[in-house]
């Protein structure tokens, strides 16, 4: 441009004679355009632009500080009402009906179980899907169209309200579309593993109506294993081996006698304590391993985790895709050029470079999962849960649900411990994020 003198034959100059006369008038005022087809009088003074720049910066500062102020206000008011309510009881107690004894240990453990399960299921699924969509685009046109349809769906799913996912979770995971419902047994799962069933009997001494008169005879309960939930009721026999659930776990006990409710109860305290009271109806109880699995899942930890998975899976897929897209194509080309297979490229080059970005997305998604109430409310229902989950199918409640429950009560004391619960929930969230950010930071440093 600077090479074009005003007398040159540059294409910018070719104008009709009358146009050049008007231009000449303008050029007298501002003769610096060098023949380019714009005139200098149209120049915006730089002072204007600088003022705009300052205005814009001020606007940014105002909006930024507004959001920070709102956050500080929220956190402040929360801490003011929540901190005094914090206590050891609140952390380790059970949700008793009296506010001063109530705690959220079951809800805390429920949150940990559900969110851990959710992360274990969602992260591999989500990252895998994103890798498929980003890194293994097929050459086949039809397959590509299918993938872009999936992509469209995922993008849309990210905006669906979480209540909807709760309802999907209820039909898909809790009852599994009633696919496993079985005509014979109306209650309970139709398929299960990891559980042992017992029939429980009591001894004579534990019968309050049977006054044995011997104070040494201990109250005892015996467990006799049965094959399955639906097995016929055990008929106790003399000489049978039973388990007793004692202080130090299960111990084997031999049944010495069966008392058919006659008058001739043995007077010997030892014999009496090992005599089954035949009139008591056996109760069927179960002992479940932590991996206890059943179909359908029912309202338990796994159903909750899977439902939360529905909520955060789109978020994780999309953020992983963004992270993968940010990895320069030249790195992939370099690895491919060295003879790496597509999988080796993903595993050795793309994923390591994308991990910090993937983790950012995962942190955001998991934070959302921890705080999510609506879908869990639908899955777990507002049931009173007194214990921390013991196995994957166990009923559970989560912290937001417990807090919600307390806030609904009329007493002010419950509102206070609810605030304390929110502080604990926030603390968990922040710890979790801090750990993840720390890991991300170390990885970024390793990459650099």
């Amino acid at each position: 441009m600077s090479g074009n003198d005003s007398h040159g034959d540059s294409p910018l100059q070719g104008q009709s004679p009358d146009a050049s006369t008007t231009e000449a008038v303008k050029q007298q005022a501002e003769p610096v355009t060098n023949g380019a087809p714009f005139d200098a009088s149209k120049l915006v003074t730089s002072r204007n632009r600088i003022t705009k720049d300052i205005r814009f910066r001020q606007m940014c500062i105002v909006t930024a500080s507004a959001s920070v102020l709102i956050l500080v206000f929220l956190l402040g008011s929360l801490l003011v009402s929540g901190l005094p309510a914090l206590s050891w009881t609140l952390l380790t107690g059970y949700p008793e009906p009296e506010p001063e004894n109530a705690g959220l240990w079951p809800a805390l453990m429920g949150t940990l179980w559900v969110c851990t399960m959710c992360a274990l299921i969602t992260l591999p699924l989500g990252i895998g899907t994103a890798i498929l969509l980003e890194e293994f685009t097929p050459r086949n046109k039809l397959a590509r169209n299918v993938l872009s349809l999936i992509q469209l769906n995922i993008t849309n799913l990210a905006g669906v309200p979480s209540v909807v996912y709760g309802i999907i979770g209820l039909t898909a995971f809790v009852s599994m579309f009633s696919l496993f419902d079985d005509a014979d047994s109306t209650d309970g799962p139709s398929m299960e593993m990891g559980a042992v069933y017992f029939d429980q009997f009591s001894n004579v001494a534990s019968d309050p109506f049977l006054n044995t008169g011997d104070a040494d005879a201990r109250e005892r309960y015996f467990l006799i294993p049965v094959d399955s939930r639906g097995a016929p009721v055990t008929v106790p026999k003399t000489g049978m081996l039973a388990y007793e659930n004692g202080e130090a776990g299960f111990a084997t006990v031999e049944i010495l006698a069966i008392d058919p409710f006659t008058d001739e109860v043995s007077a010997d305290a030892d014999i009496m304590s090992r005599t089954i009271d035949n009139t008591s109806t056996p109760g069927r109880i179960s002992e479940k391993q932590w991996y206890y699995l059943r179909l359908p899942f029912g309202r338990g930890v796994v159903a909750g985790a899977l439902t939360l998975m529905l909520v955060i899976l789109p978020v994780i897929i999309i953020s992983t895709q963004e992270a993968l897209r940010a990895v320069p194509a030249t790195l992939r080309a370099g690895a491919l050029g060295l003879g790496a297979t597509p999988w080796q490229v993903v595993w050795n080059v793309t994923l390591p470079s994308a991990i910090p970005g993937i983790m950012t997305g995962a942190i955001l998604a998991m934070s959302r999962a921890i705080g999510e109430t609506a879908p869990i409310l639908i899955i777990a229902g507002i049931v009173y849960i007194r214990s921390a989950p013991q196995h994957l199918m166990d009923d559970c409640t989560v912290m937001p649900l417990q807090i919600y429950n307390w806030i609904q009560r009329p007493q002010d004391e419950f509102h206070e411990i609810a605030a304390g619960g929110i502080v604990i929930l926030l603390a968990i969230l922040l710890t979790f994020n801090a750990v993840a950010i720390l890991i991300r930071h170390r990885m970024q440093n390793k990459l650099r």
């Binding site: 030249t330 790195l331 050029g337 060295l338 003879g339 050795n348 390591p352 650099r448």
Partner: protein
């Protein structure tokens, strides 16, 4: 510079390569490699042979019926105005165009005895044999050592000491050993652009290729680094067949044995570099090398 390049014990010598080849590609290539050199004293063997190679991106034809042969252990320069298809041609030699969905080609391309364009060709092994260096240095965000060891780790099961030998040999061959030997475990991204590019060359030769493709390897570098890489090519021509794409006419005339001039997807002229630069047969070639267009 050349005095710094010593070749103590060639860890990439026949053993790992031959072992690898016999495992995966018995019929291909290395019969020629093993031929005694004095059998063909003045007529060097052909490393790459193309016949009627045409290539399209969708419906746009980027290469029009290219036939040429690249001689073994020579430096061949591809020159031509921007957009004439030089990079496209290079990317067919190691089938990097496979990653572009719209790209397809007709015609034949042979690497020694290997039919590169056949759909049955093992591209992973092909790319090990045909290394490529790009315009912009692209070291992985890993340590210098891991960058060079990346390729060998992909293809071979090696003990640590063997890996170290390969890394050192490759870095020496690529003339960066002296600059990086004290910080092998420092991040590769901390190197200067010129060092990074030589690291990329080291990374490429560490897998024992037969052909080195270089797509404008010096265009992002300062004159000093450019000179270092040109000297390096001079050293490496004994070991590899080198194809270099360049926009720098001096570079092409300085360091290549043969030059091919492309224009709008067609091969206009290919000859000894000296002949091309002193006595071009085509008017277009003359215009281009004298800087009248392109």
């Amino acid at each position: 510079m050349s005095s710094t390049i010593t070749r103590p014990k060639d860890p990439m010598g026949p053993s790992p390569r031959a072992k690898h080849d016999s495992k995966r590609h018995t019929a291909s290539g290395h019969m020629r490699t093993d031929k005694p050199h004095d059998e063909l004293p003045e007529k060097p063997a052909t490393a790459i042979e193309m016949k009627d190679l045409s290539s399209w991106y969708g419906s746009f034809q980027a290469l029009k019926s290219i036939s040429l042969s690249v001689r073994k252990n020579k430096v061949t320069a591809f020159i031509g105005p921007s957009g004439c298809g030089k990079s496209t041609l290079l990317r067919w030699v190691n089938r990097m165009n496979d990653t572009i969905h719209t790209a397809h080609a007709t015609g034949s391309l042979h690497l020694s005895d290997l039919d590169v364009m056949a759909s049955t060709t093992d591209v992973v092994n092909l790319r090990r044999k045909v290394g490529i260096v790009f315009q912009k240095p692209n070291p992985f965000p890993k340590s210098i050592f891991d960058n060079v060891a990346f390729g060998p780790r992909l293809h071979m099961k090696l003990r640590r000491s063997e890996l170290l030998d390969i890394v050192e040999w490759s870095l020496r061959k690529a003339a960066v050993w002296d600059e990086v030997k004290d910080r092998l475990h420092a991040p590769a991204l901390g190197l200067s652009g010129g060092q990074q590019q030589r690291l990329c060359i080291a990374r490429t030769i560490a897998v024992g290729p037969e052909v080195l493709l270089m797509d404008e390897p010096c265009s992002a570098l300062d004159p000093g680094s450019t000179l270092a890489i040109e000297e390096l090519m001079n050293e490496l021509r004994n070991l590899y067949t080198i194809v270099i794409v360049t926009h720098n006419m001096q570079q092409a005339s300085r360091c290549s044995d043969e030059t091919a001039f492309f224009f709008e997807g067609k091969l206009i002229e290919m000859n000894d570099t000296r002949s091309i630069f002193t006595n071009p047969q085509s008017q277009r070639t003359e215009d281009y090398i004298s800087g009248r267009f392109g």
